[in-house]
Symmetry: C2
Subunit: 298 residues, 2 copies
Amino acid sequence: MKITILGNNSALPAFGRYPTAQIIDINEKLFLMDCGEGAQMRMQQFGIKSMRINHVFISHLHGDHFYGLVGFISSLSLWGREKELNLYCPKEIKEIIEHQLKWDLGFEIIYRIIEEGEKAILVDEEKYEISCFPVYHSVPTHGFKFIEKKRKRILLPNKLQEYEIPKYFYRHLAEGEDYEMRNGDIIKNEWVTQDGHPNKIYAFCADTRFAPEICEDIQNADLIYHESTYLEDNQHKATERLHSTAKEAAQIAKLSNAKKLLLGHFSSKYKDLQPFIVEASSLFESVELALEGKVFEI
Amino acid sequence: MKITILGNNSALPAFGRYPTAQIIDINEKLFLMDCGEGAQMRMQQFGIKSMRINHVFISHLHGDHFYGLVGFISSLSLWGREKELNLYCPKEIKEIIEHQLKWDLGFEIIYRIIEEGEKAILVDEEKYEISCFPVYHSVPTHGFKFIEKKRKRILLPNKLQEYEIPKYFYRHLAEGEDYEMRNGDIIKNEWVTQDGHPNKIYAFCADTRFAPEICEDIQNADLIYHESTYLEDNQHKATERLHSTAKEAAQIAKLSNAKKLLLGHFSSKYKDLQPFIVEASSLFESVELALEGKVFEI
């Protein structure tokens, strides 16, 4: 799983930083997480093949998370897209798109409206699963969890030969089944296979106040993205505007037992971002800035 | 008068080029001409103080000319703007903005709806005048003419002394009046002053098919911007889609007696823009590419 940062700034673009947008690549399936203004330009700059995006998730109805959406969809249409596009979003986004894009796009948009406070699995495929969970901001807002599912069990060639297991049964072994010999003896799966790779989890926590109640939804993630609009010196602003500080983001990473923390959604008042790392590192060891163009691999 | 190019590409952003947007600066008054997606980021990159923009002109209802508008207005509001903003546009733009920006912006938008085919003076101030004229595209579209008005007459100190003209009358001389002495003799204005600078004219011709009928509206401009979506090798596409080629843009520059031609709105099929200069130069001498970040001074 790879996460490419397209935009990491909060509402007002500043210092060359763009508003929120990320690409999540799970085995070459591309997912667009939020779509701030200029996201499509960023995709081009960073070599993202946007026609390969089939699912778009919008966390909430603040412009810095969706003002690039109408332009993005319009471009897909001009490029001749025919394949449907799945859009997971608040209902107002649907209204805005239908109000602006009245011509025949050439492809269908399949809307999945996310209701306030909803917790649900949105995409459930063999190799990945994507779900949403509520976070706590000034308007209804959701975080999203991207799971690359546990891989199949790994076959051990020596053991397969030793137990003389016929080839037709290998795929059942990969799924975890035991093998029953003609005489009724059982060859236990774990004798001839080993664990596949575990689930990989990326949790995008969107815009939120410090909310320990989200930790159960993002438990044990390999990587969490948590907003840190402010540093602790602006704690009052963070609290007042239902945003978080770098320190609070680090607390969530710690409480949820994340392996790594990605900080983003920086206020336009900060030119230098290094203090965000310093502040979060005092509480949680593995922290990185969600710098635009950077790719984080799990 | 200075023109800064924010975006020069046609519908689909490509090769790092952004959709149409320009800043026209007349004596430090800033005007925004079209507002494609990402225009506000470009303004930041190029050091444009966007809070100083009081007039915005939208040529037509194609997304690459206005998808940055909602984000731009939203940012003005977040920056705490209180001064009214004048918006000259098709009526659908008003509907889109009112549909999306439902909160109290903190400032008023004064709409001046431009009707199909309308030819009118939109802004008429002491030092500048801005008017619109129809061009010919697949939807109702307007070009805009920016005039920095002729400056006052320049006083000649030696002559003022020679004719003993009292100081109180200097400002009348600057306006072109003659001076009448007590004995009734007339001191002709041209004896004691010389011409001020002539009108400076910039004509933005928007998206249009080759349309010699616009020449009367843009006659004798110091600079015209004319779209050249295609080169002559794609003449059929230009004709079919009501766009122009570089050669056609040059013909308009020639027919309208422009001093200089600026080419833009390049199709995403062209990475190298030099052929646009070559093609147009064969017909019209003074041609430049509307490169992003470049400032053209009249």
